[in-house]
Symmetry: C2
Subunit: 204 residues, 2 copies
């Protein structure tokens, strides 16, 4: 090792590099990020996990990044202030970028209400960024209120709650818009899978 | 989708969950983190990438996390103060944990000079943490000085340089100690691979 390393560590480095292309060939699909955005209760996590399950069954390498696995870990130091929310989304974007380099079909599920934050992630990920708007009306989300958050937000117990006391800036030109308000889950899943096949991210 | 989601989003969530075990079965190997630690110039990155290449050829899913892919991205907001170094290693540990959940054999290459920081990562990763000490004497590292950093550190141009003006706390009980100072690169790679096979992380 000393011989090779002292002469030129760069050469050794590049010789040993496993490239993204090599991983994608191994996986027989491309790496990409499905960025699910939408109101609380719009179905982001549910759809992301359902899409992941289908992709997994198809033999793809997948991973879902959501509040459950980053808020207690990577972003445990962050609260819910504006600054911290921006940093939270930035870190998720960067980590998603690492997963893409690893050849993984990555799915993220965050409200990510601000266009500017999503634009920043898009600039990190470039063509690997697939914005999926889980389009459900506020009325429907509030009537579901699975976690009881809307009730608490209306009661003033939660401040800056997206859709109630803080804006949700809907994507203007998302790669994909999914009607998670009225369509069946299976229909939404098929729509996402069809998109990936059409873009040759996965094999049809 | 609304039907299933409003009745119980938790049920849908769990039905759709792709577990770590499912990924590991798909990959035919376990997820784990090979945490390479050692002085600058000890051969951490070189060894990590060489091990990765071998694992990739064996059909494993792998990823190397190192300064090159986090310092300009996920940790671009961090400098080299004590506080920032601690946070840098913490984030890398957390991200490595996500990759393990994704079933990936993850390799990290950071000096990570302080026992306390590595102990924190070990507490995050538990049994998935495999500490690999790239054991090379300071003399050898300094004589290699591939990046010219030791020369600059001796000239006082870099402060808190590990081994020169800041301590390197060698692991007391690493899972693996590799003699990157005298052994050939191939020997070191084989030693790491043999360890993984012995622990049944990969198939022999």
């Amino acid at each position: 090792m000393p011989e090779k390393m002292t002469k030129s560590s760069n050469v050794v480095w590049h010789q040993a590099q496993v490239s993204r292309e090599m991983r994608e060939k191994q996986n027989a699909h491309r790496g990409a990020v499905l960025w699910f955005t939408g109101l609380s209760g719009a179905g982001k996590s549910t759809l992301a996990h359902a899409v992941e399950e289908k992709l997994h069954r198809m033999g793809c390498r997948t991973f879902v990044i959501d509040g459950d696995n980053v808020r207690h870990g990577l972003c445990a130091d962050l609260g819910f202030s504006d600054v911290d929310r921006v940093e939270n989304i930035r870190r998720v974007g960067e980590v998603a970028g690492l997963f893409v380099q690893a050849g993984v079909l990555t799915l993220t599920a965050f409200i990510s209400p601000f266009r500017e934050d999503r634009a920043r992630v898009r600039s990190i990920l470039g063509d690997d960024f697939i914005e999926v708007h889980c389009d459900t009306s506020l009325d429907v989300c509030e009537s579901r209120d699975v976690k009881g958050l809307y009730k608490r937000a209306r009661a003033g117990e939660i401040s800056d709650f997206t859709g109630i006391s803080s804006p949700y800036e809907a994507p203007e030109h998302p790669e994909l818009r999914v009607d998670t308000g009225t369509d069946d889950l299976g229909v939404c899943v098929d729509q996402v899978i069809a998109y990936l096949a059409g873009k040759r991210v996965i094999r049809a």
